[in-house]
Amino acid sequence: MDKTFTVALIGNPNSGKTSLFNILTGSRQHVGNWPGVTVERKEGIARYENKSIRIIDLPGIYSLNASSDDEVIAVNYILQEKPDIVVNVIDSSNIERNLYLTLQLLEMNTKIIIALNMADEAEKKRIIIDRNKLANLLSVPVMATVATKSGGIKELLKTALDMERITRIPLRFDYGKTANGKLCEIADLLCKTTSIEPEASFLFAVKLLEDDRYAKDLVLKQRADIGKSVEAAKSQIKEEFGFDPEIYFADKRYEYIESLIRECVQKETASTKDLTERIDRIVTNKWLGIPVFFLIMFLLYQITMGFGNDFLGSYVEAAVSLLAEHVSGLLENAHPLLRSFVIDAMIGGVGSVLVFVPLMFTMYFLISLLEDSGYMARAVYVMDKLMNAVGLHGKTAVAMIVGSGCNVAGIMSTRTLDTKKDRMIGILISPFISCSARLPVYALFAGAFFGSKKVGIFPASGLVVFSLYLLGFIVAVAVGRILSKTVFRQEKSYFIMELPPYRVPTLRSLFIHMWEKTESFIRKAGTVIFGIVVLIWALSVFPIGVEPGSAGSILGRLGSLIAPILTPAGFGSWEATVALIVGIGAKEAVVATFGMVYGTGQGLLTNVLVQYFTPLSAYAFMVMTLLYSPCAATVGVIKKETDSLKWALFSIGYSLIIGWGAAVIVYQVGKVLGL
């Protein structure tokens, strides 16, 4: 050999190409960059029977369409540098996908060996590839390799060296009479008028019709007028087949791959059903998917309430009560205003919110578990089908699932919706979904009124919270349905998604996600909630002379003014009214306000609440909290996303009516039923 025999390795990412390169070259490697780009270039020397073979590791790519730097490098290298052999490394267990690149390589004027790598993996999956048949059909050698165990390496190098003497004719697909005719015309033109070699002219004709950047740069730089012939050919093909040549040609390749697979690959169907597929058969099942989803949400709230709130929360609650007692003792002789501020506002207000930190930890741990395991994606998928079934666009399910963490995020996720109308519905129904900020309110009331009761083996408080989640969902769907039939008529849109495989989440990742989310809750308690509490406290102690936190204070008077409207819902006290008004700022502030206006720490708050509410009015209050006006942050996002103050105000107005109406219905119907 006059020059060093060169073998280029090419293949899809994760096909085991780099392992093969490492086995072939050992420590005889050199790493640099491809000219003009920051893509790594790896080169090394392999030895076989005293011969040195230069091995080039080309970037991992899926096709040769020059749509990325990696693809340009690969095409450029093969066409310009002309390696003696190109070894196409294929992941045997994923041969269908890998063959697309193979077919493109076969269209090029170069000598190719197919290395069916990871042959052991394919064997485990009971994928049997008839190598001889594949080799015959493609007219290239097909070798089995297991790069990680050096399997088939010597045979591969021997075949590569043997191929030096063989001349290969590039594969020519039958693209159909019209397309073939046009391709031949352009190939002929390229041969006559450019420096493109005759063997590569057909390939370049294909690439030009596919709008390939690399081919256009190379050819049109030499003869710009060829562009006109290319455009005319494209138009004619499009006219005949209805599609651009690029998709039409690609489709032909896929058809060919399908026929190759039918001929050469056998799979044992049962063995290909992996764990993901088996689980998906249940959790994304047409009939079981939705019940499974709600069962999981039911269990999530049961664990959150039973373990997070009742068990862990009781320790924090005891600690806050202890702190309140201790500080109260310390400030016995302090100024009444200072004492009121520290005990009522800081400990009673902010402390009553912080009591729910364990609950948040538990809920976010479970949500992170669902997300990281891959289940949440399935939840969106099954909900998507449900949405369709009730006449809403499936994509609104994304907003509803994401919105159960935070309505702001739910509204942001409506950006995936295609049409303005779809988005408007998604935005307007998202606030009805029970977000985590409402959870402290539910936990407080459910704990106070239903905490000691049980339904079967389940604590009633968990059932109550789950019923609110379900109610929010039902109201969102119902309102969405009404909006889609009246204000916003649906337009056709299309949506495709890929579900991730299931995986076992790592504890580290779960704790990181849990902490990230709960930390925000704690931060909010120390900033936004604290600010609100200070304001409310100030309004509750003025004017000077009135009893702090009484109906005579500014806060009391304001609440008393609106309270009669809430009387039919069963909670017409000025305290409840004020709490709801404050909750428009941030839902967690409802709890803080109760903690403050009742002038207690959380330890006594549940005892005080039972004096003002009955289980029925407590449930009606929770329904109101769920459905009435979105919080300030959500309203702000609605305004921003709809670019309209009108819709932001509408979202407040109509949800207030729905929330009030639902609370009144719950209370009045409950009274009639004697609850």
Binding site: Y62, S63, N65, S67, N94, E96, R97, Y100, G242, E246, I247, A250, D251, Y254, E255, E258, D280, E371, M376, A377, V380, Y381, D384, N388, G394, K395, V398, V402, G405, C406, V408, A409, M412, S413, R415, D418, C435, S436, K492, S493, Y494, F495, I496, M497, E498, L499, P500, E516, K517, E519, S520, F521, R523, K524, T527, V528, A633, G636, V637, K640
Partner: protein
């Protein structure tokens, strides 16, 4: 196959890669490759939204995008695509779906 996939998307409006693979009786890996090509050709676009809007900063609770300067995606674990205008026009060309 690409044209069949576009046709299937047109027929169902909401699809998943696995449902497309089942409907067309092809390997899910092929659908992945087909999506790669359809995206490259501009018929579909990948559509993963980040909470990268300033409005998110108002939400301290769950969208922790600004948490220690790190961007956090709205995590549904799903990779989404939607048809581009070119894709919608192409769908009209698929026989029986216009």
């Amino acid at each position: 196959m690409l044209i069949k996939i576009l046709g299937e998307i047109a027929k169902n409006q909401d699809s998943s890669q696995s449902s497309l693979a089942k409907a067309l009786n092809i390997n899910p890996a092929m659908v992945k490759q087909a999506f790669y090509d359809l995206e490259r050709m501009g018929y579909i676009i990948n559509y993963d939204q980040n909470c990268d809007d300033e409005a998110c900063d108002e939400c301290g609770l769950c969208c922790t995008k600004k948490n220690k300067g790190k961007e956090v995606k709205v995590n549904t674990g799903i990779t989404r695509w939607k048809l581009t205008e070119k894709g919608k026009i192409a769908i009209c060309s698929v026989e029986g779906y216009s």
